[in-house]
Symmetry: C2
Subunit: 573 residues, 2 copies
């Protein structure tokens, strides 16, 4: 079932959504935005829409199948945006039979509205007492009002103040808001529409529809077997989280250090996954924590401070990098505090961290001065002009400070893999319709981890084809609700992909082939690119900032050398 919320008259209407049959997750979110949003609409205006959608497998409890998608025209990139998120919400919405909630228009009066989803359907409740609260406090108030077991997605200061790097924070299975629909500023779109939170309670749901339960179970088993067999998903990620990558990338010379001036960080070991895991264990936190129902990988964790108080969780490699190596900081506790502040204000840690790197170069603080970096993040919470600059993301920070070394594509900051030393990743950054996004085609797998084959990360050879294939497959995976990390397993173990196909087919009574599903992925990319083109974002923007082509990255002294014409071939399919 679809629900359409019109903020102008605060009405909620049910719809069958026949035009969106057969779609889920990113395929659904991007189709709705492409079909219903005027590409030239202001991202914060009445004509933009914010969509919350479930995925093809949502609600089934499929292995690592708990993710859902948010979509809108992005205030950060000014293009189409899909941002997917783990945590408890996707499962609950799926069990409640929700396929999509489409939020339209702007409220006539200021308010702090909560979308309440339950077996009674979807309601809009104004809770002015939530206004001005950050995410942890908002979650506490909502749990007090609606019970401990609800799933919550909400915005903090950043989203309320329509900052372009604002995220939407979601609760995990313990009700702690450690998961984020992080990228592209969808929290600002939510804030512009006066929506403070979405709350889902699946109490009373007995079971969900599945056309062929036995076939579904057989498929699920195949995927589970693959996940439990592959060393990345069964060993590295559970033991050290995504932060296992700090030492690996530093060793490979591909961790962008001090605003993309070096590829190896001398403090890598101080902030890497091994140190993090040891610190967590010593302080009684938790590693191997699953963020969403059905998770078999369990790469999340609960990180406590020196006094044993919970400080943060879902403490990812990207965040440790952006507020660590990227600004020369090797103090894990200070990075954890920055992560907590970003999660609480409701900010994308990647864009904030890259913005900090730009301000460091502008002379606002010295590399390694984590206390100064913390103070700058606190400016965001104060909503000061300087805080607003950082909260608007790296591209705007670069423009305001007149800086030329600003690692962004289509207005979105580059994540934690230097495109000169991990070239397949560079192709993805340059070309994905999302703006620089590692998850859109995670070439690190094959470039660095030797998953899905082996391809020299320093060579231009083969990277366009690699990124193309990954972007297509990812657009499909992001439509299923499966965590992208299943890709590690399915790239190496054929049974895994079979299981995914079987689960999707069994749930809906389809008879689709792998090629059919990949065609879904291709169509997602076509929808997204067409939207961007009509929004005024031309092919010429499919490129990296020019300094990646002219400045050599130590230690390998490499530049990004894949030509623009080559990049344009990514979408030859």
């Amino acid at each position: 079932m679809f629900y359409r919320i019109n903020m102008a008259d605060l009405s909620v209407k049910e719809e069958a959504g026949d035009q969106y049959q057969g779609l889920g997750g990113r395929a659904l979110s991007s189709r709705i935005v492409a079909a219903e949003v005027d590409p030239t609409a202001h991202p914060l205006g009445a004509k933009n829409k914010l969509v919350f959608v479930t995925s093809l497998l949502s609600g089934t409890g499929a292995p690592n199948g708990g993710r859902m998608s948010l979509g809108a025209k992005s205030p950060l990139t000014e293009g189409i945006k899909e941002s997917n998120v783990g945590g408890a919400m996707g499962m609950k919405l799926g069990r409640l039979g929700i396929r999509g909630i489409i939020v339209e228009n702007l409220p006539a009066k200021d308010g702090s509205y909560v979308i309440q989803v339950s077996t009674s359907g979807v309601k809009l409740v104004n809770m002015p007492e939530l206004k001005g609260l950050n995410i942890y406090d908002t979650v506490a108030k909502l749990q007090a009002a609606f019970g401990e077991k609800v799933a919550i997605g909400c915005i903090g200061t950043a989203g309320e103040n329509r900052m372009a790097a604002a995220c939407v924070g979601f609760t995990d299975m313990e009700g702690v808001p450690t998961r984020q629909a992080g990228r592209g500023g969808l929290g600002a779109v939510m804030g512009s529409k006066g929506i403070k939170a979405i709350v889902a309670d699946d109490k009373g749901v007995m079971n969900i529809t599945c056309v062929d339960v036995e076939a579904y179970r057989a498929g699920a088993k195949k995927l589970a077997n693959a996940l439990l067999a592959h060393p990345v998903t069964s060993q590295a990620l559970p033991a050290y989280g995504t932060n296992v990558l700090v030492n690996i990338l530093s060793e490979a010379g591909g961790i962008p250090t001090r605003n993309f001036t070096e590829g190896r960080f001398e403090g890598a070991n101080d902030i890497g996954g091994e140190t993090m895991a040891a610190t967590i264990k010593e302080r009684g936190g938790k590693v191997g924590h699953g963020c969403s129902p059905g998770c078999l990988i369990r790469c999340s964790q609960i990180y406590k401070d020196k006094k044993g108080e919970v400080l943060t969780g879902g403490f990812e490699y990207e965040s440790v990098w952006s507020m660590g190596a990227n600004i020369g900081v090797n103090n894990l506790d200070d990075i954890a505090l920055m992560n907590r502040l970003c999660d609480d204000y409701g900010l994308d840690t990647i864009d904030v961290g890259v913005a900090l790197g730009v301000l460091m170069d502008a002379g606002l603080f010295k590399a390694g001065d984590s206390k100064a970096a913390i103070s700058l993040i606190e400016e965001i919470g104060k909503v000061s002009p300087l805080g607003r600059i950082i909260g608007a993301g790296a591209a705007v920070a670069g423009k305001v400070f007149g800086m030329r070394r600003v690692a962004v594509v289509k207005g979105q900051a580059l994540p934690a893999y230097d495109p000169r030393a991990v070239k397949g990743q560079g192709v993805t950054y340059a070309t994905t319709p999302m703006g620089a996004d590692h998850t859109a085609g995670y070439a690190v797998a094959t470039n660095i981890l030797n998953v899905g084959g082996k391809l020299d990360p320093l060579s231009a050879e083969g990277q366009v084809a690699l990124s193309r294939n990954l972007q297509i497959a990812t657009a499909f995976i992001d439509s299923t609700g499966l965590c992208l990390f299943v890709a590690f397993a399915i790239l190496d173990i054929a049974e895994g992909m079979e299981g995914i196909v079987e689960m999707c087919n069994a749930r809906y009574g389809w008879n689709k082939s792998v090629d059919d599903y990949l065609e879904m992925g291709k169509q997602v990319l076509r929808d997204e690119r067409q939207f961007n083109k009509m929004a005024g974002i031309a092919e010429g923007s499919d490129d990296l900032p020019d300094f990646f082509r002219s400045e050599k990255l130590p230690p390998h002294d490499v530049v990004f050398d894949i030509g623009k014409e080559e990049l344009n071939k990514v979408f030859d399919f």
Copy 2:
């Protein structure tokens, strides 16, 4: 002769520039940028180039023929930019035989370089003592060093700090920096290259080449006759300056008031040209002041404060509007002070004023509070974070404050004619490759002033064709070095255009027709659009912000109703 300055090694080389034969002004500047600058280059990086070029008639003393062009990839729009300027420089460079000065690369060391042009050629001089000075002080020091009679173009705080709305200030015939190459942030490009100023001394130049002096003189006479006969150029502009438009546009319901919420300003008469002229006369200033050699229109002025001290000059309608009606201010002295501050720091008054309107809506000050607005402009001089936001222009200010009513196209602020009430102007804003720019196709002439015919400003009918014709003709006029205001005369008096054609032909020994020159105009637009496309700016960006299509403008309660497909037809030629 062309000169190529390489800031990386501080070398200056002469070139014949055969590939640029037959071009001048905007045609030359845009061709150089399109041919030599990588469209994906960072505007503040080594790969951008800053060009200073003379125009087809520069140095001849043609009636109102004193303008020259600056060009680069714009840090404001991220597209191609040509910004032309009056004052004394164009004439002197023309007399010195300069066709273009192309500044490349970035300096290895911090410096404050002056491009010194004389009969000895072009030299680069480092004058660190100029660092940190604003424009009036810079001009004083340069006059002390090089003499009172030199022409000067320089940047202030804004350009040195690479603010995206930074202009380049130029001296008028009295050596006062009242003229600006205002739009598109070329002052920031100059600052990024370490260039503080350009100084030209034409001492020792006897005369310049002209193939057929008699024919040239006959053509000049025809244009002069037209200028002296037309009521706009011979009466309205000399008496009241461009500011004559405040009352006219307010009467027409087309002066954007309080950030484009109304089209009529109750304080119009307090700040309009009639009041300004009376105030100037009362205080012993000057109206009917010519900004550049050969000017027959003389729309500039010298504005004194209450004590009789010179406060500002070149006090244009656009500036009076942006820091007046646009923020509800009706105090002319306060607007004059804001104009002086912008001229001194080196800022485009349009983008700064529109940014102020956005901050007013964001709650930073109340409409009409001119003291608060002055304080905000002073923040730019202090280079504070808030000042940097304003100095980055309206689009960035809107993004940083999360505002949705932001009147910009392609990142550049809309000038002083509401596109809903002057629809031909709206077509020009939406489609010119420059970003919102009234001068690129000044439909006000025909929509409001009934020059070149009559076309109802409130009707969509015929506006696309009007804007198309004006954009083509303007691209040619901007290539001649003629002030755009000659258009008023030549649109109504055929002899005027004949005179222009005859002057250009006579100077170079050409035998070109009007159509040949209009083809030059078309080619300019093709060059510029191709650059933008390769820079990632697609056709979809040829539109107005969506609020102009949804919010009715009082008093006529009109919206902008020219469809996107219609807008795309502007370039069908």
